[in-house]
């Protein structure tokens, strides 16, 4: 409700603003497409790399990727006048599913100059247990014993251990949850500022996630120490969230 209200308010603001400036830009609201691509330290990663390509992380571990799914939500566009438009909806990206690499917002917005942000995962308000049927069906939920809500990311694969054998890693990012109850659950979703975006007809916002970042900074990731059972590892979740902060970037905006 609040979101709609904001959009209305915003429409008003924009109408006023444009009248006063006597501009002739079109004010038909449009939706925005978000396209996601993936890299490893700059090198392109597509579905064909899954299970086949090997990558070396900052710590020198030789890894393979078997699965990559993650969640984007909370798309906010702030107009240069300072008014926020929050677009409803969330989106699950699965690198094996080409269609999922593009997402067209359900809400529409008036063309103009904005700064844009998206969120990796769900913030606490949105991360409620069991309420998203498509994500439940995709088995992307987090069991109540592990804090409930949803996964933000499932990155699974193997790395070469010291004997040069493959050992599994499950880099699963969720809300930090302490099963012992010592620490309060912590919202580890990541707000990603994409910078300025000019919204027009058919705006494509091209976003890239560099997987290398999850393993490098600020926390150098040592897979021999942190590999599986990370969902119940509160401290690991905090570190993952900090590492993920630099993983996403806006690479281009195109108006087609």
């Amino acid at each position: 409700m609040k979101k709609f209200y904001l959009i209305y308010l915003f429409t008003f603001a924009i109408v006023f603003w444009s009248c006063s400036k006597d501009s002739d830009i079109t004010l038909e609201p449009v939706n925005i497409s978000l396209n996601f691509s993936h890299t490893w330290n700059g090198q392109e990663v597509t579905s064909s790399a899954i299970d086949t390509s090997r990558f070396i992380n900052e710590n020198g571990d030789d890894i393979r990727i078997t699965r990559l799914r993650y969640l984007i939500s909370d798309i906010v566009l702030t107009h240069e006048s300072g008014v926020d438009a929050m677009l409803t909806g969330y989106h699950l990206i699965d690198i094996m599913d080409d269609e999922s690499l593009s997402y067209s917002t359900a809400d529409e917005i008036i063309p103009g100059e904005y700064t844009m942000s998206i969120r990796f995962g769900f913030n606490n308000a949105d991360n409620q247990d069991g309420i998203y049927n498509d994500l439940n069906t995709a088995s992307f939920d987090v069991p109540a014993q592990l804090g409930g809500g949803y996964h933000y990311m499932q990155l699974d694969g193997t790395y070469k251990n010291s004997n040069n054998d493959d050992d599994p890693y499950n880099y699963h990012v969720i809300r930090a949850f302490d099963m012992t109850g010592t620490n309060e659950p912590q919202d580890t979703s990541i707000k990603i500022s994409l910078g300025s975006v000019t919204v027009g007809v058919n705006t494509q916002v091209n976003i890239q996630m560099d997987l290398y970042e999850w393993f490098s900074n600020p926390h150098l990731w040592d897979l021999s120490e942190l590999n599986t059972m990370l969902m119940s590892n509160y401290d690991a979740q905090i570190k993952m969230s900090q590492n993920g902060a630099s993983a996403f970037s806006l690479i281009s905006i195109t108006q087609e």
Binding site: G130, N136, T137, A138, S139, D141
Partner: protein
């Protein structure tokens, strides 16, 4: 509202009458809807019904009759139900199902329920069948299953006293062919819904679990114990399967390549579709080749019997020790929990019996 319904009903009668009078064969089948459990409605997306095969009362009834009809096999000895018995949650108890000639396959028969929620639409252990309609065509012509051919079957059904009318009512034509048989069977299969187990009642707050069952659910979920939920669902995915394909570590060397033989991709070698954990009490033996006779054997396997291979799923842990080594108490709890997914109402459902 009432008046409207009455009017509508009247109109319907008139239409039906005029049809009967003119002898014109435009019987309109009655649209049917699935009886979806509340829990599924609350937590899952809507089931998949192809637009070119909408559910109708007549289609479902016809599909059921065909599913139990032995004339679909070469020597009239076998129906779909011979290997998909309602009392066994629509599978059978043999390791490999026997075809009509006594020939034995290499795969364990699969239970049939909640099939309309398999959104990838890939069926069979290895995903080789795309869609239920497509799948239904296969067993009839499979030489190690019903070993018949579709022109014979269509002819037999055409010569029957009842079938032509039943097809007319379901599909608007009395000319029987394989694709209509498959459509009818697929409609019946979509009505096979299992969502009424003790655990479902627990989730809806209408019953409680014993401490052992609760412990078992905890072991099922915990990452350092079972970590079963990533593949087999949980309280928010009451299908108890992700319907995906995984290598869960049964073999170091594959005799059956599973999905790999279908896709031709070596990275898919040894991957099979995750089965639902509902109704395990009725569906022994287990796995794609029915290698485990009891649930205890399955649990022992996950606990200490994992075999390493290049395609083993990264979710399988402590592989060099064969698994996470559950204690006998933990194993007993896990089993007790798994059995709370037993749905007696489903296997005894009057609509699903011959």
């Amino acid at each position: 509202m009432k008046t409207f319904l009455l009017l509508f009903f009247g109109f319907f009668c008139m239409m039906a009458c005029s049809d009967a009078n003119s002898g014109d064969q435009t019987y309109i089948p009655i649209p049917a809807t699935l009886d979806i459990p509340v829990l599924f409605q609350d937590r899952l997306i809507d089931p998949l019904i192809p637009t070119n095969n909408p559910l109708t009362e007549e289609g479902i009834a016809l599909g059921k009759k065909l599913f139990f009809d032995r004339r679909l096999s070469g020597d009239h000895s076998q129906s779909c139900a011979s290997c998909h018995n309602p009392r066994n949650a629509f599978t059978d108890n043999s390791q490999f199902s026997n075809g009509i000639d006594g020939s034995v396959g290499t795969r364990n028969s699969m239970p049939l329920f909640n099939l309309a929620w398999n959104f990838s639409d890939r069926f069979a252990w290895d995903g080789k069948e795309l869609g239920l309609e497509q799948q239904a065509l296969e067993p009839v012509q499979n030489p190690i299953e019903m070993h018949s051919n579709w022109s014979d079957v269509a002819l037999k059904l055409q010569q029957d006293t009842d079938y032509p009318t039943l097809f007319l009512h379901a599909f608007g034509t009395s000319t029987i062919d394989s694709s209509l048989v498959a459509k009818a069977i697929a409609q019946f299969e979509r009505t096979l819904i299992s969502g009424n187990s003790k655990f479902d009642h627990y989730l809806m707050g209408s019953t409680t679990l014993s401490p052992q069952e609760m412990d078992g659910f905890d072991i099922f979920t915990r990452e350092d114990k079972g970590d079963c939920f990533h593949c087999h669902g949980g309280e928010n995915n009451p299908l108890w399967t992700d319907n995906g394909f995984h290598n869960n570590g049964l073999d170091a060397v594959f005799t059956d390549l599973g999905l790999g033989a279908v896709t031709g991709d070596p990275n898919d070698h040894g991957k099979f579709r995750t089965p639902s954990l509902r109704n395990l009490a009725f569906t022994a033996p287990y796995m794609h080749d029915g290698r485990f006779t009891t649930l205890d054997e399955v649990i022992d396997f996950y606990s200490e019997g994992l075999q390493n291979s290049p395609t083993i799923d990264p979710l399988m842990k402590s592989i060099d020790q064969g698994g996470v080594q559950l204690s006998s108490e933990e194993k007993a709890s896990l089993k007790a929990f798994l059995l709370t997914l037993t749905d007696h109402g489903f296997v005894n459902h009057p609509d699903f019996q011959e």
